[in-house]
């Protein structure tokens, strides 16, 4: 989230698209009902299904899954054509006036530089035109044909309301109503918030889905303001925290990136991470990268990380490929190239795409370690559960270790919510049985591995034997110790260069903020964005001050929000170019002539003059990007691509299947189905009654939604003679499932490009363990292909067939 849950109450218009906030985030959704009840805010829902969120919406429109980009580019076109953009904002705070190099283009669904064999782009033409001073050339009038603004206009010209209807199946009148409602928020005193979740992420162009809305929000001037923003609703408790501390295989904490095997030393590594400003005076905050990185390395290896050894940069693993995302790992596993797998709080047998492939992959492991509070299906992938898990234990040699762990309610620590708030919590119960904390398990493993390395040496013992391990009980580091470590501390006393008697940072003290980090090894910090969470004043995450001056929803005294306790990112953009609030009633921070003051922690230096420093400080431009340069692998602008399995061809570029820059492995490409055999457009989702595959273990939740079902329209049910509540068999080119049919008015056939498209909804909460009835998950059916940029599997849009059935044979 750029903003916070509590900030949603400030909005005028909520658009829920690519998510189902009421269903999957019912507690956070209260802030939408607040906005509606207190401010008269309106709620728009765009979804293939009439969801629980739609049930309380002011306006609902259907859309075919996987066509959000066409819809959003259509809205952008409407806003530009009808002069409903926030011109001053766009001119000052986005890269709309920037000129793009000659040679950039887009034709037949492809940007310049495409290499079909590699399924990848040479992105060199997707760049700004730089002047002799090294800065980007700009045209304040936005008229230059190579200005980002003109390129964007040209790029989206095709997305007329008629085209949107043709691609998305959204009736034109409904689309235009939504355009009109959204366009109103281009006014300075109106804001819209976008609430989205995995409905946008789980596509082969998921990142571009989100980008499309971000661009629209920029055109409307809705980013950085109270009640605005791009708000990703996190689907797991603390999944935000997991991402922050390096969930992805190519990241290390604080969104620093892992080196590649070409970056053989620290200097080479840093050479591509300089982030020189692209406009005069810009902060380009990543210029501090080296401070964050060195402090991270110091926290990892302590005294063993020295200037002489590049702060132990060499001890970090290096990537030989762009990433070892889960699709890649399981593909390697499938090829028999992975020996062991640690599965910590993850149930891939039900979560990952194409369950058949996942099961085959796990069976090729030598060992599998599952750390989980619950008895997961993954830990029992070898078990013969009949139709529900058709495994042959005799043929599987994988040794499975199941380590019961504590769950969140039995642990102390912090959870990071969608709004980036680190909220400390205390255990509410003792762990049952032999359950141990993940910390204990990992520490015990470390201690034993270290002893082995110390005793036997080995190929590369250094990273293990030198790991900084200063905990009170080395066998079980505690939450407060790790929190202090992530916050950062002073390794050696720092004095003022001008006056060596003046101590700036005193050895051993906790840091106040990442602004104090050094690149010379005198500070250590496990996760720079968390710096400030546990200072000398104590645990900032445990703060529980509910006061809210100005009733802004900021709650600065409640817990700690990264970065620097900032509640709304890019809050500089809440004020105009001279530092006055765009809307005086919605003041967040303002320039008072000398400094920035207000209700939130400013995200630029408090004394940075308004016209000097742009609000988007993490970009070298200081502005937000409508044109993404080479930052996205699949194009600097979003473009409509069909899902890899689509009921209709891409009307804009009929030859292109899926996202042309998305990686797909050979056998997974072969396993894709086509609409002649699998005519219906399937989508997967969560239900309020359950949380993923956890709560089916809970009796009460199992009562509330006891049994696996799929949702189909009355029309499809009639066509296929399917009874409401009767059994159906749903199949894709990769597998099939049995489900009860819920025949509903909430799913309606869509007309796309003249063809009737039936949507099949498949919720995901059932498996073969737990209290609920045995069932299946959608991943028995889903394709093994991910988003081009971050490899999230495309499990929101694929093809299935549905037939009436007698249900699973009971033996």
């Amino acid at each position: 989230m750029t903003n916070s849950w509590t900030d949603i109450k400030n909005t005028d218009l909520v658009i829920v698209m690519g998510g189902n906030a009421a269903e999957a985030h019912p507690c956070g959704f209260k802030w939408v009902t607040e906005a509606k009840a207190q401010r008269g805010a309106k709620l728009i829902v765009v979804d293939p299904r009439f969801t629980r969120t739609a049930s309380v919406a002011d306006f609902y429109a259907p859309i075919r899954q996987g066509t959000d980009i066409a819809f959003l580019l259509g809205v952008m076109k409407y806003c530009i054509d009808n002069d409903k953009i926030q011109h001053d904002y766009v001119r000052a705070f986005t890269n709309a006036p920037y000129l793009v190099k000659e040679g950039f283009g887009y034709e037949d669904g492809l940007f310049t530089g495409y290499d079909e064999a590699k399924r990848a782009y040479d992105k060199s033409s997707w760049e700004y035109e730089l002047g002799p001073d090294g800065y980007v050339q700009i045209d304040e009038t936005l008229q230059h044909p190579r200005s980002v603004y003109q390129l964007l206009k040209k790029h989206i010209a095709v997305y007329t309301p008629e085209m949107v209807e043709r691609i998305c199946g959204t009736p034109k009148d409904k689309f235009l109503t939504i355009c009109k409602m959204i366009a109103e928020t281009s006014a300075r005193d109106k804001v819209m918030t976008s609430m989205y979740a995995l409905g946008w992420t789980q596509h082969s162009k998921g990142s571009q889905n989100i980008r499309s809305m971000a661009m629209l929000q920029l055109l409307l001037g809705n980013i950085g303001l109270r009640g605005g923003g791009m708000n990703a609703l996190r689907g797991h408790s603390n999944i935000q925290g997991l991402t922050d501390i390096g969930l992805m295989s190519n990241l290390i904490p604080g969104y620093l990136t892992l080196g590649t095997d070409k970056e053989v030393d620290f200097a080479t590594y840093m050479s591509t991470r300089g982030f020189k400003p692209l406009r005069p005076n810009q902060m380009s905050y990543w210029q501090n990268y080296k401070k964050f990185m060195v402090s991270f390395l110091k926290s990892m290896w302590g005294p063993a990380a020295t200037t002489e050894n590049d702060f132990a940069y060499q001890w970090l693993p290096k990537l030989d490929i762009p990433s070892y995302d889960m699709l890649k790992i399981f593909d390697l596993m499938h090829q028999g190239k992975v020996n062991g797998y640690f599965c910590q709080g993850f149930n891939p047998l039900l979560s990952l795409a194409n369950r058949g492939k996942v099961a085959e992959s796990l069976a090729k492991l030598k060992f599998l370690v599952v750390m989980d509070p619950l008895q997961t299906e993954t830990a029992r992938f070898w078990k013969d559960e009949g139709v529900y898990n058709d495994a042959k234990p005799a043929d599987i040699q994988t040794e499975v270790f199941e380590l019961p762990t504590t769950c969140f309610a039995e642990d102390e620590g912090s959870l990071v919510n969608s709004g980036r708030w680190l909220q400390w919590h205390w255990p509410g119960a003792e762990p049952p049985g032999e359950a141990k904390s993940d910390n204990w398990i990992m520490a015990q493993l470390h201690i034993r591995l270290r002893a082995l390395y110390n005793k036997e040496g080995g190929a590369f013992p250094d990273p293990i034997v030198n790991l900084h391990w200063p905990y009170r009980d080395p066998g079980e580091p505690e939450a407060d110790e790790m929190a202090r470590e992530m916050n950062g501390y002073v390794v050696s006393t720092v004095t003022d260069p001008a006056d060596p008697t003046k101590v700036v940072l005193e050895k051993g003290k906790q840091l106040d903020t990442f602004g104090q980090l050094r690149d010379d090894g005198s500070t250590a910090c496990g996760c720079w964005i968390y710096s400030g969470c546990w200072t000398e004043k104590g645990n900032m995450m445990a703060r529980r001050d509910t006061s809210d001056p100005g009733n802004t929803g900021a709650y600065l005294g409640w817990a700690f929000a990264w970065p620097a306790n900032r509640r709304i990112l890019y809050n500089r953009a809440s004020a105009d170019i001279d530092g006055k609030a765009w809307d005086p009633k919605r003041k967040l921070i303002e320039w008072n002539g000398a400094s920035w003051t207000g209700y939130d922690v400013p995200d630029i230096a408090p004394t940075a003059k308004p016209r000097d420093v742009g609000p988007y400080i993490m970009n070298p431009e200081g502005t937000a990007r409508l044109f993404a340069r080479g930052m996205m692998v699949d194009g600097p602008f979003p473009a409509h691509y069909e899902p890899f399995e689509s009921p209709v061809a891409n009307v804009l570029a009929p030859k292109i299947r899926g996202n042309p820059a998305a990686r797909i492995f050979k056998d997974d490409l072969a396993a894709l189905g086509t609409s002649d055999k699998f005519p219906y457009a399937a989508t997967s989702y969560r239900l309020t009654e359950h949380f993923h595959f956890w709560t089916k273990h809970v009796w009460v939740n199992a009562v509330l939604q006891p049994e696996f079902f799929v949702e189909i329209s009355e029309q499809l049910a009639a066509e296929k003679a399917i009874q409401n509540g009767g059994w159906v068999k749903v199949s894709s080119n990769r597998g099939s499932v049995y489900a009860k049919a819920t025949v509903t008015k909430r799913i309606k056939p869509l007309i796309c490009d003249g063809k009737t498209v039936h949507v099949v909804g498949i919720p995901l909460h059932w498996g073969f363990t737990g209290a609920a009835r045995k069932g299946f998950g959608p991943n028995s059916l889903t394709p093994f292909v991910g988003d081009a940029n971050i490899q999230t599997p495309e499990t929101k849009a694929w093809l299935v067939n549905v037939e009436p059935s007698n249900g699973p044979a009971t033996s």
Binding site: A37, R52, L704, P706, K745, R746
Partner: protein
């Protein structure tokens, strides 16, 4: 019963009027259907707080699970898909069903067991299990089809409006758990006032018939709804349009009860009076003798045939 008789406004099957001296505020739960997202937090909170175990059922093509109220499920989200003929829009009407805590409770009226159903001064209608005899009369008394009789202990169960929580100043568990504030709890007056603001909001969003459901036929209720279509409550999974205690039940528990007692009493009294004043209907000596004659005659006649 745990509480003293001063806490009651009414007690089932008793002619004793409680003194009704403790004038608490009348409480009410307001369920704003327009804010409800059907998440069933109320249902799980109810099961959890009351420590109830419902059976794990089956999917029958609906989100309504379990499929009806049961002795263990005292509240239930009922889902209705309705296409509004005026706007052409689909509406997914989700109503939390459960005891309405009527001001004039039909269950209490029907109940034959003294003290099995009580109404507190604050308006909550509660079933007192130890006095319940499991006759099921309350089921017939209720205009909303709420009470359910356990097949295990043959006692009636329903929402208590968390009278245990309310008595110590807490809101009912469902209201506490509701994430969107669709369920709110307070004094009835405060709830009515608050409902007005919700109705104004709904009218501003085009729901011209938005209104409160506080049916006068049962004297008003202590569980009320804000409905988008207050003119058509039956859309919401058959919420009665104008609920009132069945005339049949009124007759059964009213006139019949008194007339029946009177008739039987009168008959008994008549018999008593008649027995006292009427001439004895006894066999006289003469009749005995005549009988002997007749027997002989007839016996003789019998022998001849």
């Amino acid at each position: 019963m745990g509480l003293q008789s001063q806490d009651f406004a009414r007690i089932s099957a008793t002619n004793m009027r409680p003194p009704d001296v403790r004038h608490d505020f009348e409480v009410a739960k307001l369920i704003d259907v327009s804010k409800c997202i059907g998440c069933k937090a109320c249902q799980s909170a109810c099961l959890e707080w009351n420590n109830l175990r419902e059976e794990i059922g089956f999917n029958v093509g609906s989100y309504t699970n379990p499929h009806d109220l049961t002795p263990n499920s005292w509240t239930l989200m009922r889902f209705t898909e309705w296409e509004n003929p005026q706007s052409g829009n689909l509406e997914w009407l989700i109503r939390k069903d459960g005891c309405m805590h009527c001001a004039d409770p039909g269950c209490l009226k029907a109940c034959p067991s003294p003290g099995a159903i009580v109404q507190y001064n604050n308006g909550i209608v509660d079933f007192v299990s130890e006095n319940c005899i499991g006759c099921g009369y309350c089921v017939k008394g209720c205009p909303f089809n709420i009470p359910r009789i356990s097949q295990t202990d043959h006692k009636a169960y329903k929402c208590t409006l968390c009278s245990d929580r309310v008595s110590v100043g807490q809101a009912p568990a469902c209201a506490k758990a509701c994430p969107t504030g669709a369920i709110v709890f307070g004094t009835k007056q405060a709830m009515l006032t608050y409902a007005e603001t919700r109705i104004t909001d709904l009218k501003s969003r085009g729901f011209q018939n938005a209104g409160i459901y506080d049916p006068p036929g049962v004297g008003g209720t202590h569980v009320m709804y804000v409905l988008h279509h207050a003119d058509q409550p039956q859309l919401y999974a058959g919420l009665p349009n104008n609920p009132r205690i069945s005339q049949v039940v009124e007759l059964w528990k009213g006139l019949t009860k008194y007339a029946g007692m009177a008739a039987v009493g009168f008959a008994a009294a008549f018999a008593f009076v008649h027995a006292t004043i009427a001439r004895r209907n006894d066999v006289s000596r003469a009749e005995d003798r005549e009988a002997e004659h007749l027997i002989d005659e007839e016996a003789a006649r019998g022998r001849q045939t």
